[in-house]
Symmetry: C2
Subunit: 463 residues, 2 copies
Amino acid sequence: MTSSRPLEQVLANVDSTLDQSLERLFALLRIKSISTDSAYAKDCVEAAEWLAADLRTIGFAAEVRPTGGHPAVVAKSPGDAGRHALFYGHYDVQPVDPLNLWDTPPFEPSLATGPDGAKRILARGACDDKGQVMTFVEACRAWKAVTGSLPVGLTLLIEGEEESGSKHLFDFVRANKDDLKADVALVCDTGMWDSDTPAITTSLRGLVYEEVKVIAADRDLHSGVYGGAARNPIHVLGRIVGAIHGDDGRIAIPGFYDGVKDLPPDVKADWEGLGLTADAFLGPIGLSEPIGEKGRLLIEMIQSRPTCDVNGIIGGYTGEGTKTVIPSEASAKVSFRLVAGQDPLKIREAFHAFVRSLLPVDCKVEFISYKASPAIELPWTMPALTAARAALTAEWGRKAVTIGSGGSIPIVGDFKNVLGLDTLLVGFGLEDDRVHSPNEKYDLKSFHKGIRSWARILDALAQ
Amino acid sequence: MTSSRPLEQVLANVDSTLDQSLERLFALLRIKSISTDSAYAKDCVEAAEWLAADLRTIGFAAEVRPTGGHPAVVAKSPGDAGRHALFYGHYDVQPVDPLNLWDTPPFEPSLATGPDGAKRILARGACDDKGQVMTFVEACRAWKAVTGSLPVGLTLLIEGEEESGSKHLFDFVRANKDDLKADVALVCDTGMWDSDTPAITTSLRGLVYEEVKVIAADRDLHSGVYGGAARNPIHVLGRIVGAIHGDDGRIAIPGFYDGVKDLPPDVKADWEGLGLTADAFLGPIGLSEPIGEKGRLLIEMIQSRPTCDVNGIIGGYTGEGTKTVIPSEASAKVSFRLVAGQDPLKIREAFHAFVRSLLPVDCKVEFISYKASPAIELPWTMPALTAARAALTAEWGRKAVTIGSGGSIPIVGDFKNVLGLDTLLVGFGLEDDRVHSPNEKYDLKSFHKGIRSWARILDALAQ
């Protein structure tokens, strides 16, 4: 590293200004930017304006731009090197219900000491994604403070609808294609391997989400009158749900595994080396045995193998007490996580055909098709990945691992397809951050070393 | 029939005063006596007081008696014969939700012409059970009007909590055992075979109602993180629900059919003679094929064979749109209709054991046990049945059939066990009366000929 001197000063600046960095994050966390609820539309605008104003104080040309929904922040600054990166994050947060499960008010951020003795930031958005976004912003601030400029040119794109499906971002990226030009995309919305081991996410599973409704009689029936003769759609749906997985843990839908490849041997060896155990992964949530395909590593089950979960089911009487009803219909929400090689539209078709094959006489089925996005695999060899891995390894004193994420960040597909960019996914979230849940937190260590990590990565990208 | 002359006059009186009978029924139907909702507690008292007052006008000593819940009406009158009957009915009604599915306001009774050209009474409670109760009261009124007395002595017990589980009636019957003494019990809360064929219900199925909750992880999980590794309780519950019935339509719970006997050949021959077809029974609700045990008559499936229905199921996210959650738990409400020979407590145990046998590692199960009442079989040979059958056959011009009911009226068991009474179950409801549903109705013919039927039965009981 030729620029080791300014980097050390930048890191020292990060350390000495951490309190002010925290204050700024707290100010952003106080804004109730819940994107899915229109009652908070003004708060979303406020969060966008807060970010734009803050970025202007460190020399970015920052604008709050309209979209079909909540606005997006676009901020630009040139850099020392000719290279230019596009950073993506989001300022919107998940709803906070059920409020009574929060130990502290979700929009009154505070520092607390966790059961492990480590300081943690408590608030909705502390991790996802305000805390993570601010690791990047604060890294830029430190570079500007020490050198007056940035190692590489940057465009920041910070949207306000990620938690409600990024409905307008796809159009926005298409409409602003030229304006968002860059050499690589950076995203800070993923996690570490564990609290000591940094990670770069190199694959994201795709998602197919379907709702299936089984309909039998044309009205709800009294089970005292019709029980024993009339088809009960809950029984039919139960059979369908029960048939999705075989006893071997495999998904029994014909054609489901078409195109799915095994891991390259070297990656598999790497993953085996991580030694992820059921105890470590499932123990904290009260489980002991992985339920995936027999003969696979646990880490394969959650990162590189496709999965299916029924995310919701409902039918008949679900209130307190009893009602002797045979309902007319029952429905389930079913999602599939896809890996490279699987075609989301073919998976959807295969699922529909599978359900129809299990449908007895006198039953109809209706589907609602939601998302269908393919898996994304990033090139293991891209220069930005090599640079970032070295930077992360230097910061954390442990080799940064490349992992797959079970989750999906659909915009990454568009960065590739529309802007031609590969994306470097680096983040500092931990398994126990309770994102999307009550008592969301972000370790102070994640925030602090996250800023230092980005400071290093910006430097490395300029090399 | 030795008393044929006064009976003919009584029937003529029924015919000539039908308009006034209807007016009285409408007055009772206007009272919103929904027992399950405490907001209507005053309306329940009003209905009880209305009935007591009406019964006093025809010479009953009528009282509104407190129970632990809504009051019960107890009304007495001596009769010409030494025999005494206890009549049971209920003045409370089911809730009216969803209100928007009603074509006319549920508590504004009206007469309308149905698609078959027949007049029908429209209102909540038109059939269940205000209309049915008033067939009996109006028959008494006609006897009093013509002869100044009743053929047999009567005690009327009209409760206000049948639709919410008769919670306090059992204690009330025990506490008032001596006061409710009689030779036979009469109930008007059942149906006809069809609109031309009267029926006496001689068996009532028992009921075991259970709620089963399957619990896996100790919290809700993100399926993007844990999908493929963590046990999903919806899948487990789906398998359990799907395993309850075999492909032969039989219930696969070990021991479930212990003690169940086949029909006596003569009863089976009678039932075959009724010629109930799937077209006739299932066609009107949009179904075509009975799903019960292979090789059984449809009428057996709904009347004399035990059944199981899942009445409700819920787990995970059931709102609009999508959420990628693996829930911590999923639950189902499951009810069994029992026949003579089955022990409800053994059935409950067998169900629990069955569920546990299908429970994989890392899953717990919790049960909530609701009702557990045995089936009731009335003696085919009791004198009241023979008398009532002759009376009904005379009124309707068709042989009254003896049928089993798929439903349950738990108090009938207590009449036997506490008061030592057999119960004669006669009613004039029809399959399409939509009891418990929007647009409940009672055919004017059911009401009119129901009154005439009871007038004849009272006469026959005195013979």
